[in-house]
């Protein structure tokens, strides 16, 4: 995240967005034509931070614009892209083998996010990177799946029981498998504490039989896939994943534009309570990357308390992220002293389900109080500079905290139902 939190020159970002646009015909060729070598260097650096270098290179190649780049930048882009694609191909290959094995032993699987997008949505295999493989498994088959995976060499990040994890998390702890594979088994799309009503049963019902990476599996409907990606883009990761989730949305919209059931999507988003997230994410995908979203859909998703500035807040955080942490910004927000003390204490003493993944060795042992002590050290180390800057009235720190407070507000707004 720290690497990502660097300022991007506005013209470089404009060039990058022009390159990433999924509707070239509506673009402005003068934006790219006018970019000088330092701007292109900056474009590549921004793409690295957003983890979209292969996509950038693919877009430039498809539009025959690589030839117009300064040669050393074109070579660097090509080298980085090739290396990332080969690494991604290896992840996909292992994922394909796993999907076949799970199908063979009768475990129903619905691939999520990266693996599905890389294999089905993006124009070329491997240009969408992923750190792990995310699979949705029926809650009733989780135990069977974990048992099979353990027997086949997968080791969890920390010991767990399915019942306990499912109380607080929408996925099990990461499972480390053979050949460096990292697997996350989901049973629903958001943590149980999130105030949404995700109908997992209907996701399975709407999913069709399909083929991914040579394996038979279920494929999520385009509408459910879009809503899941919307939640990821604007809610689940607090807008900390940069442009990549919006590129995901733009490519799904482009790939399935002829078949998306828009009224079904709006109806499902209302039923799940995620209309606000859908409005925000689709609106930004359309504005930033010219993703094909019918104007009436965006209007239809708007809620009465939608503020026009929300789009600007989100875009600002994506393109020019605040260096302030969300919890620190919350503590320094204009709140009553009592509220501040409560926020501070939740930062120092997070609930056990947040401690377990962060400190797997300590949090599960008899020495669990040491995990909180260690956490206190981590919080102080991470935040003391920013906290000191805020306490001494540093203008930049204050602006960063205010930007982050707006994002906190956006997250709360999305949680507020319809």
């Amino acid at each position: 995240l720290n690497d990502f939190q660097k300022l991007a020159p506005a013209d470089s970002m404009q060039v990058l967005l022009e390159c990433l646009s999924v509707d070239e015909a509506a673009g402005d060729p003068s934006v790219l034509a006018g970019a000088c070598p330092p701007v292109w260097r900056s474009v590549v650096e921004i793409a690295e931070r957003h983890r979209i270098v292969p996509l950038l290179y693919e877009q430039l190649s498809a539009r025959r614009q690589v030839e117009g780049l300064p040669p050393e930048i074109a070579q660097d882009l090509q080298r980085q892209s090739r290396s990332a694609i080969l690494d991604n191909l290896a992840i996909l290959a292992n994922a394909g083998l796993l999907l076949k094995d799970l199908s063979r032993v009768g475990i129903a699987v619905l691939p999520l996010k990266g693996i599905l997008l890389a294999g089905k949505v993006y124009p070329k295999l491997g240009i969408r990177g992923m750190g792990d493989v995310d699979l949705l498994i029926p809650r009733t088959q989780l135990s069977e799946a974990v048992e099979w995976l353990r027997a086949n060499g997968f080791v969890p990040r920390y010991p767990f029981t399915i019942e306990q994890e499912c109380l607080t998390m929408h996925h099990l702890p990461p499972l480390y498998g053979p050949r460096g594979m990292v697997l996350e088994l989901h049973w629903t799309l958001v943590p149980p504490s999130a105030p949404f009503s995700i109908d997992v049963e209907s996701i399975w019902q709407k999913a069709g039989a399909g083929d991914l990476l040579g394996a038979s599996c279920r494929i999520m409907s385009a509408e459910d896939l879009l809503l899941h990606l919307c939640l990821h883009a604007t809610y689940l990761e607090y807008l900390s994943s940069g442009l990549r989730p919006f590129c995901d949305l733009a490519w799904v919209l482009k790939a399935y534009r002829e078949t998306i059931d828009w009224s079904g999507l709006v109806e499902t988003s209302t039923r799940w309570g995620v209309r606000r997230s859908a409005w925000l994410a689709l609106n930004l995908a359309e504005r930033l990357l010219r993703a094909p979203v019918p104007e009436g859909v965006i209007r239809g998703l708007m809620t009465a308390d939608t503020e026009p500035e929300m789009i600007d807040w989100t875009a600002q955080q994506l393109l020019n992220p605040s260096s302030s942490g969300g919890k620190l910004a919350a503590v320094f927000a204009p709140n009553a002293p009592r509220q501040r003390v409560w926020l501070f204490s939740t930062q120092i003493f997070p609930p056990p389900h947040e401690m377990r993944p962060a400190y797997p060795d300590l949090a599960r042992s008899a020495l669990w109080p040491l995990a909180y002590l260690k956490h206190l050290g981590v919080v102080l180390r991470r935040n003391w500079r920013s906290a000191w800057s805020l306490l001494t009235g540093d203008a930049q720190a204050r602006a960063d905290a205010e930007q982050r407070q707006r994002i906190n507000r956006l997250v709360e707004w999305q949680e507020a139902g319809q």
């Binding site: 080969l86 191909l89 290959a93």
Partner: protein, 103 residues
């Protein structure tokens, strides 16, 4: 997944009427004109350029070897016998690597 070269082996039972199919366990991607194939069974990468990449593309079109041979003769200035031997050489490597099989 390792990235190692794979030993070459000739295949002799191929004819003009033969058809080849790409193994379901092979993932491939085109990178700047080169076809990079990852064999899921062998866990190795393979690279095909020029005629090799063209043969791979023609295999995806479900062409017979005879049709492939004719297409390549139209596209490249090469004696028919030399082309046939080159085709067999590439195909035998791909079969050996379990990336393709006789249909």
């Amino acid at each position: 997944v390792n990235r190692k070269p794979h030993p070459k082996k000739e295949t002799t039972d191929l004819a003009f009427e033969s058809k080849l199919k790409i193994n379901g366990n092979a993932l491939h991607v085109e990178l700047d004109g080169e076809i990079v194939i990852l064999g899921l069974e062998t866990e190795q990468y393979y690279g095909l350029t020029d005629v090799g990449a063209r043969i791979w593309a023609l295999m995806q079109e479900n062409s017979t070897l005879g049709e492939m041979h004719q297409t390549l003769l139209d596209e490249y200035d090469v004696p028919p016998g030399v082309l046939w031997q080159d085709m067999l050489s590439v195909i035998s490597e791909l079969v050996e690597a379990r990336l393709i099989a006789l249909d």
